[in-house]
Symmetry: D2
Subunit: 475 residues, 4 copies
């Protein structure tokens, strides 16, 4: 079971950046439930962002938004939800990649324009937003935030198309990058996915109510059924005329972010018909097939290494043990130990169990290595309690190239695989051996209905050129 | 890996009550670190109580306490910890068993008496506190809280012994029940365990600094080494004269709470030389040996069912699958769904994965059943996604008798096994079959150095008669 | 002494709306003090708005704003102020006239545009903002707030003038209404007043540091000296080239809001060389000259009736008594008395003293009557403790016309003098007689250097036609 | 009008210490209103203490208390008040005289004892509490706070009298000092006043409901009528048997704190039949009769100097002017001006008006001088704006002796009149002349029904010897 959620303690994070989550509802019957359902949906998507969250409703035709910093359960309470009435909602959970976490950057964004009230929320990263922003400002637009979403809002407002749906279409044609977008006007719910389909976005249904969500786990919590994924380059418009599908651009080669399968998505979600947990288990099996190590135990680095470790054990026959405990109460820690407590941050989160590990040759399984810090610390602790050998096995290839469609720029320099070869990384983290799943093996582990994948972080082959946007702003 | 921690969402809880946690330090060198180390120790013990927490220090001979409602990480920050200087500390995390969670009931308790300042914190439940309280009140004592700890403080203040250590000894001789106590005066750290040794309490060391903790996992986080358990009926006094061990009473038959092994303790703790996780795994193996069910999959109810499910799978050969996902962001939920969303509370926490479970005969493994509510809901959900058969297996015997040494009185009536036989429970929760580990099998799974166990919740054999204290107050 | 400040308890308010307050600094020497001085200036202007407050600084050329809901002393603390470094600041205190008090409406407003960062704060109400807004939206601008300030920001961003100062000039030429504006770019502090000079705005100096403030009392608190009022239609630009005065439009007939003298301004401020407290005292004298009532005592309705009551007593010879006490701790009250406590809201604030009032013929003095509710309640209470006669005297003419330059639209309907004649009002409030100061007498009481006054709320003669902006938005 | 309330900004205070306030209700009919009425009563008594407040109710026979740090309006809201049901309540507002403002010192104090639940709240200072405390501790009592109230609670619990009323009587006989006490058991409301009657305490009635309050202004707010003062040495018990008056001790010479008339009490309260505001006005008249100064204006130091300044002007014929404005928004200020702003703290609160004061000979009137700091600063500011002469007149005699019945010990050293003669004080504060009201003149100004007064702070004649309690603890 992958548990990558609680990210309050930033310094501990040694993972790829997470992604935001979006949600939307169009209810044809009654009014009272949409905020509650959106709240539940965002709750299920909480793992995609813990910095801020928000819900927009159309209350008697007037759009209203409630958003704040923090977790979904802390931002909303019964009074607030009761007050958010309407038939249409969009919601958002945000993961911020920088220190400047500001309320002005929380979503959904609500703006007034000549095309009426418009609210937007999106998950992803535009690669030409700085360029568009510059153009818009030179035409007299003013910006209140550093959000890509505000760029899209301006394009809609500026569009020569009078109809807001046409204006959105027109705007989507101008932006480049990875995005899954939900938007709402007073009468319509809109959902759109970029032409390459980088980020997940699915359509569901509960009775006569349509639901849009980043992941299918958000359907489960409210008892909705999955209908289908929104297609790359597709825009869905739902209003009193029913549901309409538009293809606002020609479809590009599908390049779905493979890291959604490796780490981002919740294991109980399905993408392209493939359950995420089972894909991770399969990656573990494949990793076992590709490796040849003699060991006594397979031990996951919890929580994200668990499914692949289970698969690895099953395939290799090496016994699986949960030899490292993960403390659920990580939280924010203020301690600056004046007395030396080595590896404090990893101690707060992970504790290896001596009785299991002592005098054993162990294979530690994790989903990926970004900076290598956590790996180094946990290996040191595992050795200190008496492991005979410590082998590290990773259920994905080395992350050697930055992601321009979602990763925080400041972290791009920190990729250890961009600086060292496998031997060098192995030495750095102090393992007896280090093994990565091959890219081919990774892709073979995922059984989707003909999805193509973005593997740029492994092989540097970027579908969208990113050179034009040197002044990239915060997501 | 057992994960029983996050209990904010009370209604969801279908577990035995948790226990409080205590911690203490006596540092011979320097002053500055004790609050930080205590903070880390309480952090490691957070699973034993999430309602309130506190730390007391001797600051230039004057005792000072900081305590509040909430989690350790929320109550303390760098400023507060920096301000808590001294060489001696005690700390406490509290689990409240009732709705009346009040700051006045937070610990450590700090009192002024003729014997000087005294601070106390304890884990457990006295069975004669109402009686002693009544006697003390009739002699003119007044009480500010409903804490057993305050009863002990009064006994110390009232003691005819002038010396505070003697007075504590004298007081401990008068109380009956389960308790692990830490206390401090301006010069001494005291730790004591009841004569039966119901609750864990261990002594550790880090250089010249002595540490007392409810569980050994608190030693690991600060890099201290385990020395030995405090013995039943033993009191340790640490001050500038060194460390002294007193036996304040004759030792009674050891009756350690077996539920510490089943559920309460953190899996990475050791008790009596037995690692808790490994004991749970062994319970799962034993359960497999005692059962005879034909199934396709073994699936744990996360998190507490995981170790025994792993053991069960290993022993039975039935494949293990993490077919139910646990959401880490449970938190407090305010939703009163006006629209029917059945089993909402279990949905918020647990999500079974259809792709794994559909058309399968599954054995669900959990550590215990208290009220049966969660079991009923999760079985209903597992069936709804297409399980062919659902068998429930519990890695402990039926909880048919209330615990008077730690359980909230109001919950004593809710024990389903006190009202129904196994067949009746099976019907109630809607399983195809229901299996409990035998008491003998349970005890065989735990390999301690000659520990005896309290199994009163299974067999009703209470070591301490409890009839005299009918008006038992809140722990 | 007029005390109109604490307005948290909205329902109690029976006064004209208050106005916002603005403040700005350009420091030529050092950097460290500007945030502190701005904090003190806003503190002195707190009576002009208690809903929200904010400060913007140029920190190494980059504009940064800190703003929040609440009082100045609650929003800022030492850490925040220490962090707000720069040589230029603007600040704002806001009085909201509607229930929708939102953080997005707090000022200063900070925007990014092609002309660089720009921050604005203003006091007043535009009468053509809805029209301009409509035009801007139809050209593709989007709005995040309902602030007039955002309209001005858009005009600046849209201006064909490349230079930001020219663009501001150009923008001010397009807006109509009452406004006193402060703005800042990375290098310049700008202050401007509307062509009619509705709202006060003054220039001061402390050493080499220039200061702009809504009222002169803000100069006193920081030890600055008053230089002169900003003139109607004047814009001041202060930067490293020194201070420059521009007249961005032809000057209109001066129509200064006479209610600043009656109620809005702090009594220790001077406007046009006239001290406000002395003007109010003179209004009381003039009221005495215009009235002919036989009474035993003159009693002010505190706090705003005090200066005119003192003047009235001095002129009439009727003894002055503070026969009504005002409770300083009004605050927000949550009580919904289930048991009848009549006039609860006035009781919480005002308490007449029986020993002074019993068996006396009293004249109550207040500065104005808006809805009549407070007058009615206080007269009822004064009668209930035994007053023989209760005469009401108001130190201004009847407010019979709404103010379109600052009053909340929803309150425009509530003007009792718009619906009843003096006899009707007298009956409504239950007085034995009711007297208003004549408009001529009011204007004679104020001795400014040739100021003209807006008296539209008394006579309906609006200098700026307001018909074009029927969809007026919130200030 | 005396305004001594807002004391958040401690450094600014240059006044005698304030006193706490107590309130109590016994309702014979219905249940629902008592918490609301108590809330309103405490609101009216807020000027007697702003540090903390609390209400205790008997909810179905069980006592429950809600208390917190802060103002009454911040501590209670509708939910909390709705939850506080019962027929009997006591309430308290606390003024802390030390920096160690702790929640454990908030009142009412609720304790469990053999005599049942008991809640107490008191206003005053015991002079033998340290002695009693020492005795109690040596008999085994433990203390949680530094409150005198806890001492009384212990005496009650320890009393050999079984009946709680008798035990309270017995306890009151043992304590010495100034106190006005309210207490409640499950069935009774108790009120008692010390034998000298230092502090005010009155009995009121609203229908069949009895009310106890420190000041009569608390009756006005809830529409209750004043019945009579509780007499010195009297204890009132109200329960279902009706209202009973006991004299628990022989009556001592009445020595009511004269500072209640000078400063502490609210001007709209009556004490001994004398309205406080009118007494203060009379003090001003008497001061005028005793002085011979040629001046142009009489100016109060607001707010406490206003009533006596009005009386002074009336008697002397010298015109009264409110030449110093008091800012209502004092609050807590964090500013440490790096740039010299002289007299910042007085600037934040008081602003003299140049247009009134310039070139005038002024008499400033205040109620008392404690440390002299504010007087010095305001005189400096008044001179700086051009006053020709500044004479200071005080409507009470010099405070030359500490008050042991209510003043913070740390402030006892700061009394300027204990260190300097009038000439020396005059020089220190920088006045042209300084005048105090004579003690005889003070007492002549107050017209009570045969009250005697404690004037120890003026003449050092303490009714209760205070030497025995050298270790006096915080009130």
């Amino acid at each position: 079971m992958a548990e990558k959620y609680c990210r309050q303690n930033r310094g501990l994070s040694d993972k790829m950046e997470e992604e935001c989550g979006v949600f939307g509802i169009y209810a044809t019957d009654g009014k009272c439930d949409v905020a509650n359902l959106t709240y539940l949906g965002l709750h299920a998507l909480q793992h995609r962002g813990q910095e801020s969250a928000g819900i927009c409703v159309n209350d008697d035709g007037k759009l209203r938004v409630h958003k704040d910093m923090g977790l979904v359960t802390n931002i909303f309470n019964e009074d607030i939800l009761t007050d958010l009435t309407g038939e249409i909602t969009i919601g958002h959970v945000r993961y911020s990649t920088t220190g400047s976490s500001l309320l002005t950057n929380a979503q959904p964004l609500l703006v007034n324009s000549s095309k009426g009230d418009l609210s937007l929320a999106h998950n992803g990263n535009l690669v030409n937003s700085a360029e568009i922003r510059h153009n818009l400002e030179s035409q007299g637009s003013i910006f209140h935030s550093t959000l890509d979403t505000e760029v899209i809002a301006h394009l809609v407002a500026r569009s020569f198309k009078d109809d807001v749906i046409e204006a959105i279409t027109h705007s989507l044609q101008q932006i480049k990058g990875a995005f899954s977008l939900v938007a709402m006007t007073e009468e319509s719910l809109i959902a759109a996915r970029d032409p390459y389909g980088f980020r997940p976005l699915s359509l569901g249904r509960k009775g006569d109510t349509y639901i849009i969500a980043s992941e299918t786990c958000a359907f489960d919590i409210i008892g909705a059924e999955f209908i289908r994924d929104i297609e790359p380059g597709e825009m869905i418009v739902i209003n009193e005329d029913g549901i309409e599908s538009l293809h606002y651009t020609e479809r590009k080669p599908h390049t779905f972010c493979v890291f959604e399968f490796i780490y981002f998505a919740r294991p109980d979600s399905n993408i392209g018909g493939q359950n995420v947990h089972l894909a991770r288990r399969e990656m573990g099996k494949q990793l076992a097939r590709e490796m040849d190590v003699d060991a006594d135990l397979v031990i996951p680095v919890p929580s994200s290494g668990i499914p692949s470790a289970l698969g690895f054990s099953e395939e290799s026959g090496i016994p699986y043990q949960q030899g490292i405990l993960r403390n659920k109460y990580v939280g924010r820690t203020f301690i600056q130990p004046t007395q030396e407590i080595r590896d404090l941050k990893v101690r707060l989160k992970l504790n290896p169990i001596k009785e299991i590990i002592k005098d054993k040759k162990v294979i530690l399984i994790d989903d990926s290595i970004v900076r290598g810090t956590t790996s180094k610390q946990i290996i040191r602790r595992v050795r200190s309690i008496g492991a005979k050998e410590v082998h590290m096995a990773i259920s994905s290839p080395p992350v050697a190239y930055p992601c321009y469609y979602g990763m925080d720029t400041s972290r791009r320099k920190e990729l250890i695989a961009a600086q060292k070869d496998i031997e060098g990384i192995c030495q750095h983290i102090g393992a007896d051996s280090l093994h990565y799943l091959s890219q081919e093996g990774l892709l073979d582990s995922i059984n989707t209905n003909g999805y193509g994948f973005c593997t740029a972080c492994f092989d540097g082959e970027y579908q969208i050129e990113i050179g034009t946007d040197k002044f990239a702003l915060e997501k």
